[in-house]
């Protein structure tokens, strides 16, 4: 018993240390976004000035909008492509399936820096100007594997007999897809889309290489502002982003939970 208690206490301390390690920097950043000092120095004095400045900063807001639009497009396209891919994959022979898999998952194992650089070189070689479409394409390539991972986990646990049952009850392939397959995949589509959204929203290297001049995304803007005079505005912005992510995560979590509950047997 006492031995168990000891390991229990040790375990708790360890967990607290890990949590501190993971989240202390974020916590400090959030705290400093409410601090009056321009140079992030103490003592702490509460203010909302930086949030006001942020709202008035046209460049930063424009970059935020760009990032948001880009991430949304990436997320949506990744979900559509990913869903089509895993559905099509079910009709492939095992070997072909493996080959397709490796090709699509490859970008996960190539550093983004190299992906960005090589994409830039290719665009130049082909004689194109940099534009937002290429940025979006780049983001889709690197974000797709993440959507796929989530979707694949779901489809492999999806009972094929559900679709067969639907057919036996008189439903054509389209109805079966709409009323049986899609609802079963929905939670994974939401989660996968969210993951791809975050990957894109967060991405610096691809955007950095491919972004046409005059445009910017948040990661690029933040990088620039660190170079040319950091203001706690960035802290405020980061805090807003974190808050936004947490809200989205919570919503996704709720949707997933209710869906998983109805899909998996669970508590009977």
């Amino acid at each position: 018993m006492s031995n168990n208690n000891k390991t229990g206490v040790l375990g708790k301390i360890l967990i607290i240390l890990v949590l501190l390690y993971l989240y202390a920097p974020i916590f400090v950043l959030m705290l400093l976004s409410f601090n009056e000092s321009r140079y992030n120095s103490l003592p702490f004095a509460f203010t909302l000035d930086w949030y006001r400045d942020l709202a008035e900063d046209r460049a930063l807001m424009e970059a935020a909008k760009n990032s948001m639009v880009l991430a949304l497009i990436t997320g949506i396209i990744c979900v559509i492509l990913g869903t089509m891919f895993i559905l099509g994959q079910r009709y492939l022979a095992r070997r072909t399936e493996g080959i397709f898999n490796s090709i699509v998952m490859m970008p996960m194992s190539i550093p983004w820096l190299i992906m960005g650089l090589s994409s830039l070189l290719m665009i130049r070689q082909l004689g194109f100007e940099k534009n937002m479409i290429f940025v979006a394409l780049g983001h889709i390539v690197i974000s797709l594997p993440y959507s796929l991972l989530v979707l694949r986990a779901r489809i492999s646990s999806l009972d094929k007999s559900l679709e067969e049952m639907s057919a036996s009850l008189g439903a054509g392939p389209l109805t079966t897809f709409r009323r049986i397959t899609l609802p079963a995949l929905a939670p994974a589509m939401i989660a996968g889309g969210f993951l791809s959204f975050m990957i894109s929203f967060d991405n610096f290297p691809i955007s950095y290489f491919l972004m046409p001049s005059g445009y910017s995304t948040l990661p690029i803007e933040i990088q620039l502002s660190i170079k040319f005079g950091f203001t706690p505005e960035i802290n405020a912005l980061s805090t807003v982003i974190i808050g936004f992510s947490l809200v989205v995560l919570a919503i996704v979590g709720l949707i997933m939970r209710s869906n998983i509950k109805s899909l998996v047997g669970g508590d009977n």
Partner: protein
């Protein structure tokens, strides 16, 4: 409500012939079990009737019409899978309504027919539940209601009771039979459980390695199995194999590898032919051996071990190296058999079954 004919249907996967030129004629409204061990091709046969698999050769006919080009959703079949495959995101009522919607039943009629179907399986009060809130037996009932509500011409049940525990399974068997007889629907059960096949169906089709070994009523298949596989798969059997020496006066003499056996019974084989006989263990009468004399046609041996399973006591008797199984219902024995005891085994002449070699 259709007559079903399988004509020479065959399914090949790679170099593996899973179903090998099967012929089967099933009367309108009859209950047929396709029984066999796993891998015998029974599920593939069922899936070809359903239309999930297309035969590589041969034809499936519903009421003399070939259905080879008819897709699953146009065949008007009712299916129940082992996993039930209830749609998890729909309520019980929505699950049952689904097939009616697909069949273009007017919206105003659907709720009434759904409730009727649920009442027939005693699930009406669960109409608004989600499948995961139901027990296995309840899910089974909903799956049945969902299949029956569309008034299918053919019902196909794939190991549909296997997931239930023994007691519930037995309860469901009789209920299932009542429901199917009421609906007068032609039904195929696929099962590996001989007891299920016997209680549920009018006819049993025994499959093995892609071919049909025997077709008949449960009684025919059990009492007159055609060959060793059928005798062994349905129930238990003691086998006696050898060359026929002589037959007559209710006694058959065969020469086995190392001895001559006299068995009570008769045969159509001629002396010199290789023969195979079987006796059901419950037909073997075991008596204590008195004196050194062994009656003609009986076997003498020593009880090797005894298996007590409540209602049945099985004794494995060592008859000169050959193990013979006997079974007696618990109450029917005047005294408990003892291990090592000398016994005489005998049976009525009709119980010796001659099998195809």
């Amino acid at each position: 409500m259709a007559r079903v004919n399988l004509k020479n249907i065959t399914k090949v996967y790679g170099s593996n012939t899973v179903v090998d030129h099967i012929n089967l004629d099933v009367e309108d409204g009859s209950l047929v079990s396709i029984l066999g061990p796993s891998g015998c091709g029974k599920t593939t046969t069922l899936r070809m009737i359903a239309g999930f698999e297309i035969p590589d050769d041969g034809e499936v006919l519903f009421d003399d019409q070939p259905v080879g080009r008819v897709p699953v959703n146009k065949r008007n079949i009712g299916m129940v899978f082992q996993s039930y495959a209830l749609f998890p995101h729909m309520t019980v009522a929505q699950n049952v309504a689904y097939g009616l919607e697909q069949h273009g039943v007017p919206k105003s009629e659907i709720p009434g027919r759904v409730m009727d179907a649920l009442e027939r399986v005693h699930m009406a009060e669960y109409a608004q539940r989600k499948p995961k809130q139901l027990s296995g037996g309840q899910q089974q009932r909903v799956a049945l209601a969902r299949a029956l509500v569309i008034r299918p011409s053919v019902m196909l049940l794939d190991e549909c009771l296997s997931a239930l525990d023994k007691k519930l399974r037995v309860e469901m068997q009789s209920e299932l039979r009542r429901l199917l007889e009421e609906s007068k629907v032609t039904t195929f059960f696929v099962t590996h459980d001989q007891e299920e096949a016997m209680t549920l169906s009018d006819r049993i089709v025994v499959m093995h390695d892609g071919i049909i070994e025997q077709t008949g009523t449960p009684r025919e298949v059990y009492e007159s199995p055609r060959n060793r596989f059928v005798a062994d798969f349905l129930g238990k059997a003691d086998f006696f194999e050898g060359k026929l020496v002589s037959a007559g006066n209710g006694i058959v003499t065969i020469a086995t590898e190392n001895s001559e056996l006299t068995l009570t019974g008769s045969t159509t084989a001629a002396p010199g032919e290789d023969v195979l006989f079987a006796v059901r263990p419950e037909h073997v009468i075991m008596n204590p051996a008195v004196g050194a004399e062994t009656p003609v046609g009986a076997l003498r041996g020593k009880i090797n071990h005894i298996i007590y399973s409540g209602n049945v006591i099985s004794s494995i008797v060592d008859c000169g190296g050959m193990m013979v199984r006997t079974e007696a219902t618990g109450g029917s024995l005047s005294r408990e058999p003892q291990r090592g005891e000398e016994v005489i085994l005998s049976w009525e002449p009709d119980y010796l079954i001659q099998l195809e070699k």
